[in-house]
């Protein structure tokens, strides 16, 4: 097994090494940007500053995911989760450098299914002027998109936590982020066939969140529930070990969403960016209210973990239509997302889909809801439920099948799940020989 673990690490390393060997890499001309016709150097610079700020915000979402996921799981698996999260960021950026960006934005003809612009990063002098885009340079474009890419994988991480083998997970992430995400992403944002067909997804309710959610669902199905979660027909909750960590995570994710959605305007356009920020915040606030009310009603007690998930639900829900729905609709979308996430968590527990952090409910359920909501509420008459459904199904089918097959292959080759003994003692000792809270005593009984 040790051999395999090592191998599973080497694989991505080798891929990277090989890839670099063939990459033609351009160097930036450090000359001042010459403005293209139609946009001033000043406006270009402002737009680019805004997009860089958005990039930072999306980056910090990874810390949000790391703390949320570790907070909602047990202390004995914390090192493992944190390790996965720091690795995902690195893997996401590197695969996106090597193949992802060029799979997702292949250029070439519009309306396609697949394209590839060649390995690695490279641009010419125009790449840093408004000739490339009015909103950002080639480099900003790449980095902003790369930060997005990694979030899809992080969503999977939470759902399969506390039982997946580290090496197997890293192999999955490398291929999922490197291949699956950019392909479906290209269908819409890379001017592919879905875009041509009129599907709308402003910042990625489907392209990012559902894709991650489908990957998570595939993983959970193949892994099965954690030991002790469903016993004798009953669901036994396995409580997260740190609500402060979980709360830090949600606040950081909310913050990051300002960049996720605000940056998806792709320029600093004052009216549009600020409107998107307002819908984003309102949906999150309504998601909190919706989730609190629902969980309070059902459990008779207000559940913090549900309130937190409610904020995320609202955020995922508004992501597809943040720029095209009214304030009123935003509130409806947010509240429904907040209600949905609670019901979805309970429903998945009923059917024994064990998702420790509620990632599937937040990202898949509410991702679908948010995408549909564009069809229902958009102020743009071009949008329709039918077109939205088409996108949801197409992207869902591709990413679920991709993830399922990939997980199944990994399961056959490397194995997917740690041993029962390791699961009971915790993955921190099993996978890392390293405790997260050295010196502290906590009960290992759950």
């Amino acid at each position: 097994m040790k051999q395999r673990s090592k191998f599973s690490l080497l694989l991505p390393c080798l891929v990277y090494a090989a890839a670099f060997a063939v990459v033609f890499i351009g160097l930036p001309s450090t000359v001042f940007a010459e403005e293209a016709a139609g946009i001033s150097a000043e406006m270009f610079t402002v737009n680019n500053v805004w997009m860089m700020v958005a990039t930072f915000l999306v980056f910090i979402m990874h810390l949000g995911f790391a703390t949320l996921e570790s907070g909602l799981t047990r202390a004995k698996n914390t090192t493992n989760i944190l390790f996965k999260n720091i690795s995902i960021v690195a893997i996401g950026i590197l695969t996106y450098t090597i193949v992802g960006f060029n799979l997702m934005y292949p250029g070439g003809e519009d309306g396609g299914w697949f394209g590839f612009a060649g390995w690695g990063l490279s641009t010419d002098a125009a790449g840093i002027t408004s000739a490339y885009s009015e909103g950002y340079t080639y480099w900003t474009d790449f980095l902003f998109q790369a930060m997005f890419a990694a979030t899809g994988a992080t969503i999977v991480s939470g759902a399969v936590a506390e039982r997946i083998k580290l090496g197997s997970f890293l192999v999955f992430v490398t291929l999922f982020v490197g291949i699956c995400y950019p392909i479906t992403g290209m269908w819409k944002w890379g001017a592919g066939w879905l875009d041509a067909a009129g599907f709308y997804d402003f910042a990625g309710s489907t392209l990012v969140h559902s894709v991650g959610g489908w990957g998570a669902l595939a993983g959970v199905i193949l892994l099965g529930p954690r030991i002790g979660k469903y016993v004798k027909g009953e669901t036994r909750p396995i409580m997260g070990h740190s609500m402060p960590l979980a709360t830090i995570g949600v606040f950081l994710l909310w913050l990051g969403w300002f960049g996720f959605n605000g940056g998806s305007v792709l320029s600093a356009d004052a009216g549009l960016t600020s409107y998107v920020l307002v819908t984003t915040s309102l949906a999150a606030a309504c998601g909190v209210v919706g989730a609190i009310a629902t969980s309070w009603w059902i459990s008779k007690k207000p559940d913090l973990s549900m309130a937190l998930n409610g904020a995320l639900a609202g955020l995922v829900g508004i992501t597809a239509g943040a720029d095209t729905v009214s304030i009123e609709s935003t509130c409806v979308i947010g509240i429904i997302a907040g209600i949905l996430v609670v019901l979805s968590v309970m429903m998945f527990d009923k059917i024994r889909i064990d998702d420790p952090v509620g990632a599937i409910s937040v990202h898949l359920t509410c991702g679908i809801w948010g995408t549909l909501a564009v069809g229902l509420f958009s102020t743009n008459p071009d949008h329709s439920i039918g077109k939205q459904l088409m996108g949801i199904v197409a992207i869902g089918a591709f990413s679920f099948i991709f993830a399922f097959v990939l997980f199944a292959i990994i399961k056959a080759v490397l194995g997917l799940r740690v041993s029962e003994e390791e699961e009971l003692k915790g993955l921190d000792l099993g996978e890392h020989n390293q405790e997260a809270y050295s010196g502290f005593q906590f009960f290992l009984t759950q």
């Binding site: 036994r236 909750p237 008779k300 549900m306 968590v345 309970m346 509620g358």
Partner: protein, 113 residues
């Protein structure tokens, strides 16, 4: 010499300590414990499901005393920890064969206080 082990409600520790001081019993050792007794337990809610918690937080107090102090120690603990409600706790009394003060090497009755 007796070793008196008391499981009490956490919030009663200060009162028990005070009551023991008042009886000139000023040495004790305390650990955290969870216990399961007549009190039954309670439900916690987490993400839409219910957790039956029947291991409740308790504090475990260990006091070693000479035989003539045993009764008053027990009384002090009982008096301070009692609320009359289920969950008040239990006291167990064990015979001590010996007691040694590490610092001086004294043993027996001299070492205990």
């Amino acid at each position: 010499m007796k070793l008196i082990i008391a499981y009490i409600q956490p919030e009663k520790l200060n009162d028990v300590k005070q009551a023991l001081f008042d009886k000139n019993v000023s040495k004790m050792s305390v650990t955290n414990a969870v216990g399961c007794g007549q009190q039954g337990g309670y439900e916690e809610h987490y993400r839409g499901t219910v957790v039956e918690v029947n291991l409740l937080k308790k504090v475990r107090v260990e006091v070693a005393v000479n035989d003539d102090f045993a009764q008053s120690t027990i009384e002090a603990i009982t008096g301070a920890a009692r609320t009359g409600q289920i969950g008040d706790g239990k006291i167990f009394v064990i015979s001590l064969d010996d007691c040694i003060r590490i610092r001086t090497g004294e043993t027996g009755n001299d070492a205990i206080g």
